[in-house]
């Protein structure tokens, strides 16, 4: 650890590296810092500007960098908000039995509500909060992205917190760690790996719904925010093939760049939080991380800022803990009760209002929702079956051949990182040329969005098949169907289920953008619950939106509990390979 000499605390410049080569090595980092600062400045100026709901989205290549910056900024801000919510939510749920009983079922429900259903309430709230500034609409868009990102992160961190080994917890207790030190040195590190992977998934989800989140109709107001999503949407509306291709290219570029510059280093860095007692054979590496680690500038800046701050905070909480804690005063308990009563009252009132609103549903509305639910249910399951049909053989083929998977894995990863929504316009263009409607199109779109989860899991499962089991099959001449039935399918079963669960959730959510699409000034749609929700959002038909959302959430929760959870248990008991 770099520890500054006493006098350098008062003269930070003295901590900077003196030699020219090390200065050169730090040059990229310096430049990146300056660029970041400029970006923030530009954003601040834009956000403070008066609201312009009808911002012109221009379709020239020259505006793409600016749009990309706006979109990335939105996603980043949304991510950090999600991260804060995640930590507070997971911490409360894991540390209070009472909170846990409310928060966890709530989380389960919230994550089954499709993003678009959040749109009207979020937007109305934000625009009311900041009626005159661009900030209001922007915040609305950001909160919308948050509603798509936060749930799986919160779930991951919560379950990590709950799974901390007992003896580690006891060590923290017996050595009297303050809540802060325990959080910093035990709970956060223990949940880091799960958090990183779920953060990546959440970011991917953000890109997926970017088009819906940057451009939408709210009643009679047509809101559009400058960004890559609205660019693509506008290009699709205009049927401008060149602009679509350019937009998709830029988006893929940005995603790949972020993957290399941000996620890879973070994954490589988070290796140290792996809770295993032995060194893994091959750990993920990142040249970017090596660069950052070699930078003396960063080390010194860290030693001057982060380290003392952490030290001071930890010591502060340690001393606070050492003091005898006062009994919670009666006023505080009273306030707690008041707050609880207020929350319960609010929930009851909201339930009542929802019930009232639902009475406004007409019979055709209800029929539409029912039909849509049935159709989308069949569509989602059909898509999953279709996806499994091609990914299982291909995934097993790749997984069993290390050399093939060394080539195929990175390609598939890039392919998967492209948000399927960005490809919708291109796919639709082709479909229209061959003459298919959105009925077939929506399945293709769902497939594009969900197949990767299954493919990756099947590859991982096939890779994990022990060689001796394969050799047993060779010895007993098990080939073809026999081999699949006796070895391959049972062996990949747990992985396949994991993939299908993720894909199923993704497919339900994606149905909203796949069943209802604006293209070349026309609206393509097909029968489905997603289409019902999208249309209701567009028309500002709140009763239908509410009803359809409740049905979808209920369907997703029920299917999860009845089908996937059981298969999951089966997978983790009967089909687990632990020899």
């Amino acid at each position: 650890m770099v520890r500054p000499q006493p006098w350098t605390r008062f003269a930070p410049w003295a901590a900077l590296p003196r030699s020219v080569p090390s200065l050169l090595a730090d040059l990229p980092i310096l430049l990146a810092g300056l660029a970041l600062f400029y970006g923030l400045l530009a954003l601040a100026r834009y956000w403070a500007a008066p609201v312009s709901t009808h911002a012109e989205i221009r379709l020239t290549a020259a505006v793409l960098p600016k749009y990309a910056l706006f979109s990335v900024a939105r996603l980043t801000v949304a991510y950090f908000i999600s991260l804060s919510i995640t930590l507070v939510y997971a911490y409360s749920a894991a540390h209070s039995k009472r909170a846990e009983r409310v928060l966890i079922p709530l989380l389960d429900t919230l994550q089954s509500i499709p993003v678009l259903s959040f749109l009207p309430p979020v937007m109305v709230a934000m625009v009311t909060l900041f009626p005159t500034r661009q900030l209001g609409v922007e915040l609305g868009s950001i909160v919308l992205i948050v509603t798509g990102q936060v749930w799986n992160m919160a779930f991951s961190v919560y379950s990590s917190f709950k799974n901390i080994p007992r003896e580690l917890q006891e060590a923290a207790d017996i050595y009297r760690l303050s809540w802060w030190q325990k959080f910093l040195q035990l709970e956060l590190p223990y949940s880091a790996i799960g958090l990183v992977w779920n953060s990546m998934m959440s970011m991917a989800g953000g890109w997926f719904f970017l088009m819906a989140c940057e451009m939408f109709v709210l009643g009679n107001r047509d809101l559009r925010l400058p960004g890559l999503g609205s660019y693509l949407q506008t290009a699709a509306n205009a049927g401008d093939t060149r602009a679509i291709v350019e937009g998709v290219a830029v988006m893929i570029g940005v995603i790949v760049l972020m993957d290399q510059l941000i996620w890879r280093p973070i994954i490589a860095w988070s290796e140290k939080f792996k809770f295993e007692q032995v060194e893994a054979a091959s750990a993920p590496r990142s040249p970017m991380l090596d660069l950052l680690r070699r930078s003396r500038l960063l080390a010194r800046v860290g030693a001057l800022t982060v380290t003392p701050a952490r030290e001071a905070l930890t010591l502060h909480f340690a001393r606070q803990r050492a003091e005898p804690t006062a009994e919670p005063s009666k006023i505080r308990t009273g306030l707690g009760w008041l707050a609880a009563i207020a929350v319960i009252a609010a929930v009851l009132y909201a339930t009542f209002r929802m019930a009232v609103m639902l009475t406004a549903l007409s019979a055709p509305d209800v029929r539409g929702i029912g039909m849509g639910a049935a159709t989308t249910f069949l569509r989602v399951e059909f898509t999953l079956a279709l996806a499994a049909l091609w990914t299982v053989p291909v995934g097993v083929f790749i997984g069993l051949r290390p050399r093939v998977s060394a080539i195929a894995q990175p390609i598939a990863q890039v392919a998967a990182s492209v948000p399927a929504t960005a490809l919708f316009p291109i796919v639709l263009l082709m479909l229209i040329q061959v003459g298919g409607g959105l009925g077939v199109g929506s399945i293709v779109l769902l497939l594009l969005g969900t197949q990767w989860y299954i493919l990756f899991n099947v590859i991982a499962g096939a890779t994990a098949i022990p060689t001796d089991l394969r050799e047993v099959c060779d010895v007993f001449h098990l080939h073809g169907a026999q081999r699949w039935r006796r070895l391959l399918l049972p062996a990949i079963f747990p992985y396949l289920i994991t993939g299908l669960v993720t894909a199923s959730g993704g497919a339900w959510n994606a149905s909203i953008v796949a069943e209802y699409f604006k293209f070349r000034g026309k609206t393509f749609s097909t029968v489905g619950l997603g289409a019902v929700i999208s249309r209701a959002t567009d028309n500002g038909n709140f009763p239908v939106l509410l009803g359809a959302t409740i049905v979808m959430a209920a369907l997703v929760v029920v299917v999860n509990r009845l089908v996937w959870r059981r298969l999951y248990v089966l997978a983790s008991t009967r089909f687990v390979l632990d020899s």
Binding site: L168, E170, D173, I174, Q181
Partner: protein
């Protein structure tokens, strides 16, 4: 012969010890022993006291057992130890094996401290402390009860009194499921007793947080922190500033032999090194009592032995600041090797069955006679039927199946048969390198099934056991089934239930419910597992995990049986 005896007696009466010795040395040892026994008893004792150690040791093996025992105890304690150590090894083993019942009883009383001051007969290497220090911890009637999900309670620890005094290493020894760890966690304040209270220096945990540290079985290090940072964790929690923290952590690391490893991560270290970090982290806070929860059981034999030695060196050299060490273990030898005082826990519910001091001099020799005596004594304690607790348990006790596999039972029986049908438990454990936790359930299972009996730490084959050990696999299964259906309540119940049903099948859930009345959740699963293994092996039933149903194997068996 009488003439020789008279001459010897004359020499003894006149205190002519050299001449008496010379007389005895001229004869062979057996004759010398016989001659001595012709003297009046008081003179025998005086003579024996005057003999040099090596000769006394040679003679000891020639006396009938109890005679030798009494003569030995005429001499001062350290000399007895020396004589026993000087005996030829096989003689010594025989000596302890032949220990008659009264001698055993005396020994037991001595070990349990029943015979208070003025008991000159047993070795006392360490003088009694003049005045006992006031205890650091006093636990009064602490009890732990877990609630069953379906309502009702299960007592895990029966109300227990316990005090920890300064200046000693205390070992808490017991089979698995006896609540050792629960007791440790109640003493440290990690877990609150269901009733009763734990006082540190007369204060409850609410009044004052004691300065304790625990060394964990799984090390419980934070893998993302370096060795140094791990040791700094508790210091940081106490608000120690950076520079002092650093210095103290480094010093502690030095004392456990970890210089140069400050910046390593735990995953780079071997198990033994990791546990050293665990020790350093515990010692860094200078705890008043150092608690250890099976600290050596995750390590290999050699590493564990090495660490034990270093711990003792640190303790004896007063290089660690703790006033007492409290060690939880299931390793009997480890307890006798390290502890000044041993608490033996019984189970179902957990309670202290024995509490005695180990006044052996250090360093202790694993093969020393007295060492083995203590090991043997503890085996006897653990295998003898639990008399004093019987009335407590009797009213609700449901027979608890020992967690042994049929293969283990058959293996033990075959070993016993190879050794003539009888063997010392500690010797089996020692030779097979088995912990008590591994061996005791197997022994319990063999006695429960009537294949063997235990007596004073020995295990002996019964005729059925002998037949079993020599039979072929199919016969073994038959014998096992017969024994299980007679002796194992749960299997008897299952068999009856299956026989009474027309389809000869029952859901396993039904029996799980029965067990839940009597055992805590984890134990229920283990009871089920054991019953399944035994029932499947004995072909009492088959079990289908898909449907979770038990089924009688086939009606043919019944026809045969009938």
């Amino acid at each position: 012969m009488t003439a020789a005896a008279d001459r010897l007696r004359a020499l003894v009466v006149q205190n002519h010890w050299e001449q008496a010795l010379a007389l005895l040395r001229r004869m062979d040892v057996e004759a010398a022993a016989e001659l001595i026994m012709k003297l009046p008893f008081e003179e025998q004792k005086r003579l024996y006291c005057a003999l040099p150690i090596d000769f006394a040791a040679q003679l000891a093996g020639e006396f009938p057992y109890y005679h030798a025992y009494v003569l030995l105890h005429a001499r001062p304690a350290q000399e007895i130890t020396a004589i026993v150590d000087a005996m030829p090894p096989d003689e010594r083993v025989r000596f302890f094996e032949e220990l008659p019942e009264e001698a055993w009883q005396r020994l037991m009383d001595e070990l349990e401290g029943k015979q208070a001051a003025g008991a000159p007969e047993m070795p006392r290497a360490i003088a009694e402390a003049p005045l006992p220090d006031p205890p650091i911890i006093e636990a009064r009637k602490i009890e732990k009860v877990f609630e069953r999900p379906g309502g009702g309670n299960i007592q895990v620890i029966a109300p227990t009194d316990l005090s920890v005094t300064p200046g000693s290493i205390i070992a808490l020894l017991g089979p698995s499921g006896s609540g050792k760890s629960t007791l440790l966690r109640m003493l440290t304040g990690l877990s609150t007793p269901s009733s009763g209270e734990v006082l540190w220096h007369g204060k409850t945990f609410a009044e004052e947080k004691p300065n304790v540290a625990i060394v964990f079985q799984s090390f419980a290090l934070f893998p993302w922190l370096t060795v140094l940072e791990n040791v700094e964790v508790p210091l940081l929690a106490r608000g120690v500033e950076h520079d002092e923290r650093h210095a103290r952590a480094l010093k502690t690391l030095g004392s456990v032999g970890l210089e140069g490893f400050e910046s390593a991560y735990p995953k780079d270290l071997s198990g033994g090194m990791k546990q050293r970090v665990g020790f350093a982290r515990a010692l860094a806070v200078e705890p008043e009592i150092l608690f250890m929860d099976e600290p050596f059981s995750a390590l290999d034999v050699l590493t564990a032995e090495n660490l034990r030695g270093e711990l003792i060196d640190l303790w004896l050299g007063k290089k660690i600041p703790t006033r007492s060490i409290f060690l939880v273990t299931h390793n009997i030898e480890e307890a006798v090797l390290l502890a000044d005082r041993i608490l033996v826990l019984g189970r179902n519910p957990g309670r202290i069955r024995a509490d005695f001091h180990v006044p052996l001099a250090r360093p202790r020799d694993r093969n020393g006679a007295e060492f083995l005596m203590y090991v043997d004594y503890i085996y006897k304690l653990l295998t003898q039927p639990d008399l004093e607790a019987a009335p407590l348990v009797a009213k609700s006790a449901y027979q608890m199946l020992p967690h042994a596999r049929p293969g283990g039972i058959a293996g033990l029986l075959e070993i016993l048969n190879d050794r003539g049908g009888k063997e010392d438990l500690y010797r089996i454990a020692d030779e097979l390198r088995l912990d008590v936790d591994d061996l005791l359930p197997i022994v319990e299972a063999t006695t429960l099934l009537g294949f063997a009996t235990t007596h004073r730490g020995d295990v002996e084959l019964t005729p059925v056991g002998k037949t079993f050990s020599e039979a072929d696999v199919a016969t073994q299964k038959d014998l096992f089934r017969e024994a299980a259906l007679v002796h194992a309540t749960l299997l008897k119940q299952i068999n009856n239930a299956l026989a009474s049903k027309s389809d000869h099948a029952m859901p396993l859930e039904f029996f799980r419910d029965i067990l839940e009345e009597h055992f805590p959740g984890q134990e229920v699963e283990r009871q089920m597992d054991t019953a399944l293994t035994w029932g499947r092996y004995g072909e009492i039933f088959t079990y289908d995990s898909e449907t979770d149903r038990l089924r009688a194997p086939q009606p043919v068996t019944q026809a045969e049986a009938g």
